[in-house]
Symmetry: C2
Amino acid sequence: MPNILTLRSSDANFKTDLAKLLAFETVTDDSLVATVNDIIADVRARGDAAVLELTQKFDKHPATTMSELFISADALKVAFDALNDEVKAALNLAAERIFAFHQHQVETGFRFTDSLGNMLGQKVTPLDSVGIYVPGGLASYPSSVLMNAIPAKVAGVSNITMVVPAPNGELNPLVLAAAHLAGVNTVITIGGAQAVAALAYGTDSIRAVDKITGPGNKYVAAAKRAVFGQVGIDMIAGPSEVLVYAEGQAADNADWLAMDLLSQAEHDTVAQAIFVTTCENQLNAVQAAIDKALEKLPKADIARTALANRGALILVKDRTEGLAVVNQVAPEHLELSLDNPEEVLDDIRHAGAIFMGRHTPEAIGDYCAGSNHVLPTSGTARFSSPLGVYDFTKKSSLIYCTEQGSKPLAKTADILAVEENLDAHALSARFRHA
Amino acid sequence: MPNILTLRSSDANFKTDLAKLLAFETVTDDSLVATVNDIIADVRARGDAAVLELTQKFDKHPATTMSELFISADALKVAFDALNDEVKAALNLAAERIFAFHQHQVETGFRFTDSLGNMLGQKVTPLDSVGIYVPGGLASYPSSVLMNAIPAKVAGVSNITMVVPAPNGELNPLVLAAAHLAGVNTVITIGGAQAVAALAYGTDSIRAVDKITGPGNKYVAAAKRAVFGQVGIDMIAGPSEVLVYAEGQAADNADWLAMDLLSQAEHDTVAQAIFVTTCENQLNAVQAAIDKALEKLPKADIARTALANRGALILVKDRTEGLAVVNQVAPEHLELSLDNPEEVLDDIRHAGAIFMGRHTPEAIGDYCAGSNHVLPTSGTARFSSPLGVYDFTKKSSLIYCTEQGSKPLAKTADILAVEENLDAHALSARFRHA
């Protein structure tokens, strides 16, 4: 049997054990932070020269000039045109659906007139330019290109720069094809903290952007944290996780549930797959199905390690307990394998994406449901949202008082400013009501 | 005449000089970061004991037990009831208007059915608990309590904890009155990095929150950056700034414009006040009016220093140049002293709040227009928004496929997962379309 922690809510130590399971924390490594700060300082001081050297050093990239690190629009189109028909159709369908979903997130702002005749409102404006970080090498995913770039396009961002490291100068052509399809404006084959620094501060050849989105390794995460404030960032991504919730209903299929859990566990050795059920027989059946599926899975070693490190099968007494576990985990991906998943929706407070019923595996959401697959990880669904159009726009408040409508407000501001000892504030208001 | 930099767009060095004016950057002080990290580690390790000791040490607070640092709901009400009628009415009007404005920001999510019969959507959920940081001592502003707490209330947050340092145990009673009015649940008189750490990680007596908002000093800013990820944060606040734009129209009043600039400059010695005009006579008149106003202003020393450090009077050739300067500054507060400010609105890409016409000074927005006064500073209006209801909610994607509707999506996911070498993803999808 695979090595997976089993927890039962009836156990005396259940609360402690569950807390321990969820206590994963990326250790802030002082030497890593120092390294990243040095890289950022170097890129700010020496610009292109630093970016080129660091790319040669860390990525073993053979380029000898900056211009070799830029991929032309033609090269992107060539990569797209070279796709076979099946893959091209799949990528097109995914892009269309992502576009359609994100259209629903477009905000238009508002205006209203108060009882005094003053106009108040909110203006929504796309960001001018964004940088999208796409991991290279093993984890180079064309789907991530679509998921980052399309919401930016929908928002109306006119300059999208994508960075993707190319170890030894090699790139997944599908990533380039996806960049073409999503309408990315500039592709640069750089990565790591040096790419984040170049996007945040700009160099002679790389335009500084206003915000950087997309996941990366721990150097990228540390660099994003460091440049936050100079530019916007989306979030600090942690390991990915899924929680599958079931109640042993007749329509459940243990093989499906097992594979849904494994589709998370195969990502990497710290990915987290948690199965929560009210039914002991189902828990055992899913455990056996995982065992069986692992025999044939190419990435079984990674999945086994992930399950042993961070996986869990959790038996709860009833739905109330089950949903309490869901909310405590605040999972990135939540699958509700239930006859009527709508019933529980109101009670789910924290989840990045909710996959409802038996025919909505996470994999559909990863690629082509249309919703975003960049989701809050490691419990951050408590306070953050999927990547969306709202990440690529910003708001400005509008306040437009009439001469008469201004007076009562100016009087109020005058009174409160005096209380706060801000005399120029009070005088500025007083001019308008005196 | 006051010492203020004058720039003219016709000068050869204009671009460089303008860039220099805007190049203010909080230097990341390694020893400050180390101090803050030590404080956070101490609070995580020792909880209440550390919080109490650090509060005694940094705030000279006389408390000898944690419970003395909590302000009871009764004490808040007593503070509110003790206000004089004029101040109480002003605070009430401000609260009502802030509530009314933020009602317009409430989001309800969406649902739609795709052509395959699948449901997709987005669920909006309030955060469970938030922490509001309110600066203490000199800069203890009741208006900030309202501006942070009311959007959280409108969002539906059920637990709002406010922290406010009380140097020597002393507090502005208006801050407590505002907390009562805004419906803050818990008030704790702690501050600094120790307050941020306690809110992020919790102690025996302080409940951990999901997000921390509100401005603070450099220790607070560094602590917020450090705990980002463990909890959400709103932004890293920098010095405040205003840009007043005018074109020398007849309805302008130099005294009003000067006082609007000074209402920013009086905040602190690194606050920034910039006047941009197309009219040289107006530039000179405003300069003279600033000079005159400074003679009587109680905080003239602070304002003079701020104007000398970071202020500027900028003469531009025409509106096009003027709005280019506005967008380059991306000001926190923008005043448009124009006969028809609507004309330029579409061309303004970056500003936290836009005050339109002559009867809408920033001071009205600071207190009682209803829009939020927590705004993106230091050019971060390029990518961020005023504090709003959207900061106190998060979104979850909803995906609910039917058995038939799932098949084409599962097939697409299968194809793309194979391309990304994610076999369990492919198999999980294959179960649904096979």
